[in-house]
Structures are given as C-alpha cells and as structure tokens.
Symmetry: C2
C-alpha cells in the first residue's frame, strides 16, 4: 500500500537532483493551486495531504511517512491539487520533476521504478475507495491501524506499539467518519482488549483479532 522508495534509491536520486528542505510541524510543504515544480521524497517526518472543496469541506487523502513520494497528483495539471502539511518536524528531498523526466530517459530502470510508484499510488487509492465505500466504522479503523502498523514495521519500528501523529479529527476525515465515531471505535477495540489506547499512544495487543475486525462485517462479537 505505501508508496515507497528505499534508502538506496533515495540516494541515487539524491546524488543527482537534490535539495533538502526542512518543514516544521504544522508547516506546508505545498498548497493547492501553487505551481508544480518538484516531487518531494520524505526523508524523515510525517505528512498529511488533504483536498478541500470551495464550500469548505475537507478530506484528508493520505498520511505519508519516510520514503514516500509526494506531489504525484500535481503532474497532471502542473498545479498542486492538494495541501501537504507536516504533522511533525520533517525533512524532504526536493526532486525537480523536469530533471527527473530527463534522467529517466537515460536511466530506464529509474523510469520503470517511477511508473511503479505512480501505479502503487493508484492501487492505494482504490483500497481507500473500497474502505470508504463499503466498510463500517470499526472495520475502517482496524484497516487503518493495520496499515500504519505494517508501514512502521517496514521502517524498522515496532508494529505493535506506536504513536499517532494525527488527531482523531484527521483520522476521521481520512476514514470518512466524525471524530466522535473514531474515538468510540478506539474505545470499543480497547474494551475488547484488542488494542490499548492512551491518547495518541496505540498498542496492538492482538493483531490477529484486529485483522478479523477488518474483514468480517458479519462477525458478531
């Protein structure tokens, strides 16, 4: 699910076209409507991306961590179509897109890799569509936690204990739920001893049962 570059690949890119940039917690990496110049590879930190309608409706479209690539949506129109906001102090590596395309022509494997990354983003979005379109609140939260868990694991962190960088409201926006519903779903999972919640700190006690939660809407507990 996550759109990732491995360390080595970040370096390959980094050697050729790099420009480090620090974004403090709460800062914007890019805003909707500004001109697109570069993709951004996250070197450290945590971001959310969100789109907002004219009428003020907001939707978090993703949470992004180390190794992931931001800005893919902006290629189509040369304008950023969403905001990217740091949820903790972060560092990104700027990749001028025109240069990336140039280099792709001489390093076909880079091009191929880039295509895979874009495609993976599409697959990820389809997964979110499935979640938003057909899952219940508790299933959504379980899916969300397991996804985070896996991504932390892949980065060498604990898969069973981590702390959330985002608020209940942001989780709710991403999952198509209100913050109260998110909070209740957390409490319910805790009551069933599947997870332990201490504010932002999450401990997964029974990952197998959490997985069951994800899959079976018909499973009456």
């Amino acid at each position: 699910m996550p759109v990732g570059l491995n360390d080595q690949e970040i370096h390959i890119l980094g050697d050729v076209v790099s420009h480090k940039r620090r974004i403090p917690r709460g800062g914007y990496l890019h805003r909707t409507g500004i001109k697109f110049q570069s993709l951004f590879a996250i070197r450290s930190g945590f971001f959310k991306t969100c789109v907002l309608e004219e009428d003020g409706r907001q939707q978090v479209t993703g949470f992004h961590m180390t190794g992931e690539l931001l800005g893919l949506d902006a290629i189509s129109s040369d304008l950023h179509t969403c905001d990217a906001i740091a949820l903790e102090d972060s560092e990104v590596c700027e990749i001028p897109f025109a240069k990336l395309e140039e280099i792709s022509l001489v390093i076909p494997s880079l091009m191929r890799h880039f295509h895979k990354i874009m495609s993976r983003e599409i697959v990820r979005d389809h997964g979110v569509m499935l979640l938003l379109g057909s899952m219940k609140a508790e299933e959504r939260l379980a899916t969300f936690l397991l996804n985070l868990s896996r991504r932390f694991l892949m980065r060498g962190y604990s898969e069973s204990e981590f702390n959330l960088r985002m608020t209940r409201e942001e989780i709710g926006s991403y999952l198509g739920l209100k913050l109260e519903t998110v909070s209740r779903a957390f409490s319910k999972l805790q009551d069933e001893h599947i997870i332990t919640v201490d504010n932002k700190r999450i401990q997964i006690n029974d990952i197998a049962r959490l997985r069951l939660k994800m899959g079976n809407s018909s499973c009456v507990t």
Copy 2:
C-alpha cells in the same frame, strides 16, 4: 476528471503498437490476479472496473469510456488488481507496456503525456475519495451525473440527455450507496424537476440546479 487520450494520440500509439480486441457486453477485459502485459485504450464502448475483497465485498472503482486508458493499477505489481468488465460491446486497443516504456525513451513527449495520464487518475481517485468521505447520497448522485454529462459532452454527445450503461446497483457500489438509495435519489431529483428519469435514460433539465445539489450540503430545498 477523465483520463483521456485524444484521437490523434491514440493513433500515434496505434501506429506503433496496436492490437485491436473486441469485448462483448459482459466480457472481461482483464481479471484480478492475471499477469499484466498491456494497457488498454478504449476505442469504443463502456467499461467498469471493480475490486473485490476475499470476503466477497465488491466495489466499483470506476466507469470508463472511449479514449480512456485501463490497466494503470497493474503496473505496480505486474498483476492486475481489478476486474475490467465491458458494459456494452466494446473495442480496445492493446498497448504492450514494455513497448510503451521503450518508445517513451525516444519520444519524450509521449512519456510526459503518459505521466500526466497517470497523475490524472490519481487526482480522479482523490475526487472520488472526497465524494465517498464527505458527501450525502443526493450530492453523490448529482456529482456522478454531472461527471458523466461532462464526459459525454467532451466526446461530442449531448450533455443533457444520455443513457446509463450501468445498473443502479453498480452506481451504488461506485458511490458507496445501496441500490435502493440510488433509486430514491433519482426519484427525488425527478420530483424536483431537475432531471427526468426513464429507467436508464436520463435527461438533465436544469444543469445549474444539479450543480447546486453537488455543492451545498447545507442547502435546504
């Protein structure tokens, strides 16, 4: 919103790498899990793409018409991650992906165009996420109809009168609603004289008011 190639571009591709294929109504263009070889440009007809979970849950991830490109999701893993099913007799042009990547290296503008198409797909998906995450039934249907309308218009058909190729259930799956809810939303829009519904035949009588429906959840009719 639609991921499109213009006629000329289809021809450029068609001249170099083409293989026409006919898919009858109800036929599969590709299935989840089969090996990815080619992208498919729709020359005529109408498709739906859908993902399904192990537990049988299904979600329509898109409806696709002439000029659009199918198979982008499969690049990431070399396997198709969704089914593509023809909703009417259709014709596609097969584009072996390996060849497309090769050619991209010598026609940079083709590569650039391809990147824009992939990016547009991501933007489209974000739009659907916004819809699924924050809109009410009626708003979803209005958004859906306006999107279809625009795409028909772009292809030289009437923007105000067209017939749906998909069932209420398929619309519902795409919009995250049950078929009964879709039907009721149609009826409501008809009662308000915004559209006229005769089974699959849709006539938009007041496109401006339909647009209003899309935007304002707070608008009390």
